[in-house]
Amino acid sequence: MKALNVDDVSMVFTVPGGADVHALENVNLKLEPGELVSVLGPSGCGKTTLLNIVAGFLSPTRGQVFLDDDPVTGPSAERGMVFQQGALFEWMSVEKNVAFGPSVAGKPRAEIKKTVDHLLSVVGLEDFATKPVYQLSGGMQQRVALARCLANDPEVILMDEPLGALDALTREKMQGLVLKLWKETGKTIILITHSVEEALFLGERLIVMAPRPGRIEKEYRLPFAEMGLKKSPRDVKAAPAFIKNREEILSMIWEMEEEIMGRQEAS
């Protein structure tokens, strides 16, 4: 596994006929190999922009992203991405979707088959291998997305609200799956989410971002991901320490939102 280094990244979007939007300002973030970092913040704080820069879909105005010593210049198989939804290839079966990465890399058929079979059983979809993906439920589709990303064995996995479109119960189950996959594969993961609970439960580290300009406001080191591997999610989420953190972060984000609203009214 390689270390990821976001080095003093700023992103300015120039709006024609309007003021420049400072989506990110001087963002510094280092991930050690195997870390799971969750990123949280109110809408407009630049968290998705940050992820797109790390993925290589956007080039930052200033600063750079490094994977070990190599600068990121575009998307590559080293940095896998799991999207919220709509990124599966609906013209392919479940197994073809999962096999996409190894197959464009030209891996031998037998090896691809082995990888796909293994990953489908890890995410519990071995009985759905030949189904078209559009026949699957939202939760199952996200499991396919996870398996497809893992099939490529990336150095870093970037998750952009991967569970955002799921109902509450499915979401909780999927959080357990993400933890399990993280533990089993030892991947470096950045997870972006809207849900404070999810960010606390999954992140070893939690980054809270603030908007205008988009920046890192606060960072937490958290024990809950480790706990979640041993205890049930509900036990972890009901622990007093969890609740205390949750309320603290919620009120922080609440204040940011209030401030944005206030500024919009003033202008």
Binding site: S76, L88, G101, A105, P132
Partner: protein, 295 residues
């Protein structure tokens, strides 16, 4: 009062025949109280359709049998049947009826084939490259609104009236439809899919062949269906102008001999084939792009 309520809820469902005819509510529409404005609560009314067709046929028979209309304007059942029999066995002007139909269908299929062959890559290029978009956009936007029939005189001047001229006209008619369909297919791709493919290590070529192209297939299919319809209309019109074979030419020549029965038969055949093309294309679409509208 209580008995009345009981009676109302126990009301017997309508007979299966009435439901099939679409004259009575089925078990699904029966539950709905809001029907006006809810298209799914409107019954098929198949029974009325059957009545309409029967009434039209009856009118045909009565009007011709009682001489309300002269045979030169509208033929009787009998003469149409006799003519159909003659056409079936002897053909029309030394060409079998089947050959008249086949040549028209062949022209349409050729035109759509070449139109797709050129139009799909052109549309993909216009959706993917600013050079291709810049170069071809003015041409496509200018020629697109011109009805293909308006090009017939020019094509006759260039290529005469042989087979190539007809297929070239149909090629033009389908070319722009296919170009625009393929271009729309490219722009309909969810950018997440493209990003996902690149993050999985795909090259530009692999993104094109494994993501952009299959993603555009539903739109391309719509283009093919529209092309077929437009070309069928165009081929008949083109044959009316200049041809010695084809269903269009058959009815035009028949008109010159005042064979109204042949004209009517030709029109019915044209209708049936147009309808069949539409149905076949829809089936093909269901079979080849089952994921359509399901992302």
């Amino acid at each position: 009062m209580a008995d009345q309520k009981q009676a109302a809820s126990d009301k017997k469902p309508a007979s299966n025949l009435a439901i099939w005819l679409g004259l009575a509510d089925n078990s699904f529409t029966r539950q709905k109280t809001v029907k006006f404005g809810d298209a799914s609560a409107v019954n098929s009314g198949r029974g009325y359709g059957i009545i309409t067709v029967a009434a039209l046929l009856l009118l045909w028979w009565v009007a011709t049998a009682f001489g309300w209309i002269k045979p030169i304007y509208w033929p009787s059942f009998g003469s149409v049947a006799t003519r159909l029999d003659t056409l079936w066995t002897d053909g029309f002007r030394n060409v079998a009826l089947w050959d008249h139909v086949a040549i028209s269908v062949y022209r349409v299929l050729s035109g759509v084939f070449y139109g797709a062959l050129v139009g799909i890559p052109l549309g993909l290029a216009m959706g993917l490259s600013s050079v291709a978009r810049g170069v071809f956009d003015p041409v496509v936007e200018f020629i697109r609104p011109i009805p293909p029939l308006a090009l017939i005189p020019l094509i006759i001047l260039w290529f005469g009236i042989d087979e190539f001229a007809k297929i070239f006209l149909l090629f033009l008619a389908s070319l722009f439809i296919m170009t625009i369909a393929a271009r729309a297919g490219v722009s309909s791709v969810n950018i997440s899919k493209v990003h996902a493919a690149y993050s999985l290590g795909a090259s530009k070529w692999q993104v094109l062949t494994r993501v952009i192209l299959p993603n555009a297939l539903p739109e391309i299919f719509t283009g093919l269906r529209v092309s077929m319809g437009v070309c069928w209309g165009t081929v008949v019109a083109a044959e009316l102008v200049a041809a010695d074979r084809g269903v269009g030419s058959m009815i035009m020549i028949a008109k010159n001999f005042l064979q109204t029965d042949t004209v009517v038969i030709g029109i019915i055949i044209i209708g049936i084939i147009g309808f069949t093309i539409e149905i076949l294309m829809r089936q093909l679409e269901k079979w080849l792009v089952p994921w359509r509208g399901k992302s």
